[in-house]
């Protein structure tokens, strides 16, 4: 009886969150799936079963072989951006987290430095993107500096509105998502394990590879899931930093939406979701998160 009352209270307490997620997350996902199999014309969706959203998306994929069709090219490009961003954020994120967890000894400094890394996360992403313009633009600081030093003769164009600037901005914006979970894993490592490795004659590098990295795996995987899902679905950073010229999986959905082709947008969303889930499953295979938590 007491137990029943207790779980009733818990239900009531959890209900608002459940309702919000049901109304604004689960139900919308259901609609995306349903509408992806609807028919459409130039200006509206028609609630009748049709796989046009999918067939239009893959149009010409077989005819164009061995060349890649637009959608496949776009996905290859998105995956490439994703891979580049992932490896850079992992490298930088791990190094920063390692420094914070193992080299900063006082608790206060740890909090101050972690906060220093977190504050940009609480400020606007768009502004953090715009912020690269005075540095990377044609007359930006980098070009002026390089010309001044005589490294290049005239300003280079590929610094801004290019794949370079997209990856730079993505790393700039999202390394935070690697730092936090990896730091969280590293801080839980029993320091005696590292002493033991040292006493057993392991070099610093051997300790890192054989002790620290395996123990940091849960954090690495969680951080990777964050970065991969953000980059796979990104259309804002790629849009702004790519000068609206670079196609990506997220941008396809956006442009279909702007053309009011909802079923086509939904079909692309389902495809994107499928691929993202596959990547997450592959990542979680590397480490059993539930066991490690």
């Amino acid at each position: 009886m007491v137990q029943d009352r207790k779980s009733l209270v818990a239900w009531v307490q959890a209900a608002p969150m459940m309702l919000i997620f049901a109304a604004f997350f689960l139900l919308p996902l259901l609609f995306v799936t349903i509408v992806s199999a609807w028919d459409y014309n130039e200006y509206e969706m028609i609630p009748a079963f049709s796989l046009r959203g999918y067939t239009d998306t893959f149009e010409g994929c077989i005819a164009d072989l061995p060349d890649l069709c637009t959608i496949l090219k776009t996905y290859v490009k998105t995956l490439k951006l994703c891979l580049l961003t992932w490896s850079l954020t992992l490298l930088i994120g791990f190094t920063v987290a390692y420094f914070l967890a193992f080299h900063v000894r006082s608790k206060t400094w740890q909090i101050v430095l972690t906060l220093l890394c977190t504050i940009p996360f609480w400020t606007s992403n768009v502004i953090r993107m715009i912020a690269w313009i005075p540095l990377l633009g044609r007359n930006g600081l980098v070009n002026k500096g390089l010309v001044g030093l005589g490294v290049i003769e005239r300003p280079v164009e590929w610094l801004l509105y290019s794949e370079f600037s997209v990856v730079l901005a993505l790393v700039h914006l999202f390394t935070f998502f690697m730092v936090v979970p990896i730091f969280n894993s590293l801080i839980r490592i029993d320091k005696r394990l590292i002493e033991a490795a040292h006493d057993a004659g392991a070099s610093g590098w051997q300790t890192l590879v054989n002790v620290v990295i395996p123990l940091a795996k849960p954090g690495i995987v969680i951080g990777s899931i964050f970065v991969v899902t953000i980059v796979m679905g990104d259309f804002v950073t790629i849009g702004v930093m790519g000068g609206q010229q670079i196609a990506s999986a997220g941008k396809i959905i956006e442009s279909r939406l702007n053309a009011l082709q909802f079923p086509a947008a939904a079909a692309n969303a389902v495809i994107l979701l499928g691929i993202t889930i596959l990547i997450i499953v592959a990542l979680t295979r590397i480490v059993n998160i539930r066991k490690e938590l």
Binding site: V32, H103, R105
Partner: protein, 292 residues
């Protein structure tokens, strides 16, 4: 303590310093450039120092009704903040007891957090479009749309802020000593009194943290709002629109103002957290000590 630092410390410290420079350098550049003189351009050098671009933003010339977008984002941010705090704390309390569907709710929250924003945004847009169609078909006269800042827009923001709130609550209660509540109950406190006088004061600094996340994430939210906000735009959406047509430093001035709001909120939240923690140390210094 006091032992000599290894060489790797200095290498890693240098990397860390470079990372911090990488994080803040570009932002600081636009804060400086927003004080560009009237004839100055988008890049260095500074062509004099002035407040011209700020006054342009306030006057609204050149930039579409930015004041209104500013106000809308501020109000929406505050509503999202309050709802995120209340709903997350409430759900956090629920997770301390076991209830059916607890792990389902947890996984839904995580899924909502890592779902590519464009998909969530598209889904909400479709949901409201279908709802509008349905209402129109059932013969309501003059119905336009249910989509809006405080319906679809608010929902979109909550799918982003609530998972953070819930995760922070988990972090709080992982360290929470449940015996404090038992003690309160044993002394005859009701459920509400236990929460109000025992649990809440202890978790309050972290709850302020949830509020900080709630406001700042909403204030800067862009991807999820993009399709789900209806006819009016929030500030980040206006800013994004401006990036394609930017020719004058007024966009930097706007960026500086937007960041100033973020920094002000972060600063206030941190001060409140520090004050609360100091108060806990003063007043609650012996709480729980006799039990350990």
């Amino acid at each position: 303590m006091g032992e000599k630092r290894p060489r790797s410390f200095y290498v890693l410290a240098a990397v860390f310093a470079l990372y911090v420079l990488f994080l803040y350098g570009p932002m600081i550049a636009i804060y400086i450039l927003s004080f560009q003189g009237p004839d100055g351009g988008l890049t260095f050098p500074m062509n004099g120092v002035s407040l011209v671009w700020f006054s342009k933003v306030f006057a609204g010339t050149g930039i579409v009704d930015i004041g209104a977008a500013f106000k809308r984002s501020l109000q929406l941010g505050l509503v999202v903040m309050v709802l995120t705090v209340v709903i997350s704390v409430s759900a956090g309390l629920a997770f301390r007891k076991s209830f059916r569907g607890a792990s389902f709710l947890f996984y839904v929250a995580i899924a909502s957090l890592i779902m590519p924003s464009i998909i969530t945004s598209l889904g909400i847009a479709l949901e409201f479009r279908l709802l509008d169609d349905f209402i129109n078909k059932s013969g309501v006269e003059g119905w336009t749309t249910a989509m809006g800042l405080y319906t679809s827009g608010l929902g979109a923001h909550l799918t982003w802020t609530l998972p953070f709130g819930l995760l922070i609550m988990f972090a709080i209660f992982n360290r929470f000593d449940g015996r404090l509540e038992e003690a309160a109950r044993d002394l005859g406190a009701t459920r509400w009194q236990t929460f109000r006088h025992v649990v809440l004061p202890i978790i309050l600094p972290s709850v302020v943290g949830i509020g900080l996340f709630g406001f700042t994430l909403s204030w800067d939210e862009l991807a999820r709002s993009s399709q789900a906000i209806g006819s009016v735009n929030t500030l980040p959406l206006e800013l994004q629109g401006l990036t394609t047509t930017v020719t004058k430093p007024d966009i930097y001035a706007l960026g500086t103002l937007t960041s100033a709001v973020s920094f002000l909120v972060i600063f206030l939240a941190l001060v409140v957290i520090l004050v609360l923690q100091a108060r806990q140390r003063r007043h609650g210094s012996d709480a729980g000590k006799g039990m350990v």
